[in-house]
Assembly symmetry: C2
Homo-oligomer: 421 residues x 2
Amino acid sequence: MLVVGGGFAGVACAKNLSKYGVEVHLVDRNNYHQFQPLLYQVATAQLGVPDIARPLRDMFTKHTQVRITTADVASVDIDARTITTADGVTLGGDILVLAAGARANFFDTPGAEEHAYPLYCLDDAERLRSRLLGIIDSVDRDAKYLDQGALNFVIVGAGATGVETAGALSELIHDVLPHFYPDLPVHLANVIVVDHGPHVLNGFSDKSQAFTRKELEKVGVEFRFGTGVKEIHPDKVALSDGSEIITRTVVWAGGLQAAGVIGAAGLPQGRGGRIDVEPDLSVTGYPDVYVLGDAANIIDQHGNPLPQLGSVAQQAGTWAAQNIRANIAGHPTTPFTYHDKGIMAMVGRNAAVAELGPDRHELTGPLAFAAWLGVHASLLSGTRQKLGALLTWSTDYVSKKRPTALVDHPDDYRIDWDAED
Amino acid sequence: MLVVGGGFAGVACAKNLSKYGVEVHLVDRNNYHQFQPLLYQVATAQLGVPDIARPLRDMFTKHTQVRITTADVASVDIDARTITTADGVTLGGDILVLAAGARANFFDTPGAEEHAYPLYCLDDAERLRSRLLGIIDSVDRDAKYLDQGALNFVIVGAGATGVETAGALSELIHDVLPHFYPDLPVHLANVIVVDHGPHVLNGFSDKSQAFTRKELEKVGVEFRFGTGVKEIHPDKVALSDGSEIITRTVVWAGGLQAAGVIGAAGLPQGRGGRIDVEPDLSVTGYPDVYVLGDAANIIDQHGNPLPQLGSVAQQAGTWAAQNIRANIAGHPTTPFTYHDKGIMAMVGRNAAVAELGPDRHELTGPLAFAAWLGVHASLLSGTRQKLGALLTWSTDYVSKKRPTALVDHPDDYRIDWDAED
């Protein structure tokens, strides 16, 4: 049994299988599980890395049936049910579970790959944090960079990641930077969210959308709806409506596609390059190959694609494990049913939106903020991580400072202000 | 007033000066202060990075007289009292304080620069952590690497850093790895400390030395005294007694020299390339230039050089600030007196040595362990850091796991097992 990917889906699958005595080999490029819904908080120095990362071996100490390997997967051979790692080792299993996640989908936007900051893995978050601190340090050192768009921050995509990043960035700029940089002209900063759709938080209720937009506009976030990004340059962004924004920081929260190695495996791909799966989460024609998590295009019983959420990944992981046990026992598999616990997004200090349960009980404001904190702290894996996150959040909230604003990617910190195309 | 270096000395100096209304410009290559005495704990995953690092701006929010710049210093012009940063900016002040720390002194040992792991800054610690995890993952994957010395860990230097690293590494190997790697033959691991002197912890009492050696030998640490390191190869270490140790991990805890930029400033240099200073901590012939911390060769009133300790650096920083205020006021400066609070070293689980106060009141064992924890937690800068360290330590201690064992330097994690000279 080979599981590729130690995210929500892979971990849930491996845990369930090992609980029932199935030997599992879990492979991930990192030696840790990362809590992806909070990456934007690492990027904006609301949380530290150890608050949201946990060594995979730490998660599986009680699951002795699980063997863990840290390796980059270079290729997948679906027919042989094997993978080959970057250092040339081939691993396989009777059953193959592909849960290697996704990567940013730049939709072939020129310049995006080179200049935009995606926000999908821990390294992305650390890079963006160093970039933001580098930009801010530069302006603090020399105000001339203001004319080069230093304090214009463009976020592509008004979904949960885009909205949460915009809120956290505004809070950083207006609540925190005045403590750290007393002379910085924060009133000149602009956080601009660009989306080709007509509103924030697609999939949320009208009320949640209106609340989110109002709260974010209150803290200075500007929205450009109905507009796509045509091209990203080192010193500006060209929009589809013909306008340009001078900026040195473009955060890409504009969608995902299946991770390269899974996308290249030759399987049928749906929306965003995701792999089409059968209702039981196996791949059409390959009952021994399962695709889970952000890499999978899962259609629910009403014919709608399930969103790329941690809770979908986690439940699919457990469900796939049950089906795999059915495979092994020679029993029929069952179609995946997603138990919808609701959706949430953090908007800013004391403000969040939550729609709880399948009937979408709506909460907004401080109550949703508290619910958001509680749910996320409890979902974090590991005691050190839960308590660490609560500790860091408390410090942030009370002191309005950022104890984790550490520059650890010097290349991103250094801004090449002369860069043009 | 220009202060170069945001370590113990530079921070203490800047804080004192600003308290008395002196404008200070503080320059450091990092945007954070690092608590160097605990770097070995980050390297062995006993603490996480945010536990021991604190943004400099976070430390100076109440000191509005202090301006902070993050920049690499490329050169120092003593006569002009200026520095030039790597990006070509020249900064200066009426008075120049050089507290830029040190770097490993490899004593021209061939191969040390290329293959040894120093432990002087946070990046060193993260690199070593990734290296250790890379080595261990390799052996877990394929036992053949045992024959290539994978589980031989060589530490050069039996001073505090060497001893503390050896103790932490032994604890990692024997108490933690069996949880994370149930099949790893930890009984085959060797932690070998090499020192050209005759005993551990030079400067500590005979009793502390004997206790430390006995405790470390109890957990399997091996000592090679009276032996220097002749050459470091990618796959082995050659010692001066003609023997060789096959190993892929050499930790360099063998001494420091003044940081390159200060060492190259053309000032008189004493032991380890450190800059000779007058009793008032200024440089001979340059009453407007102070050298502090690990970069300074400070001789006490008895003619003995003071050790390179955080407490010496901190006190020298405050003292230099007083002398600088005297300079400004036209008063005479006073010779630095070090108030000796004692010395401590962590040896392992429940074991430490402490010699408190100038009369060296000796403690060993669990009491010293408790004292060590209390002192280090209280010395850490910042509430988040103090509480975070206590939280991580508790988790380590109770669970015998390592929630911060994260690989973040893939280049160090990947071991080139075919590398030879």
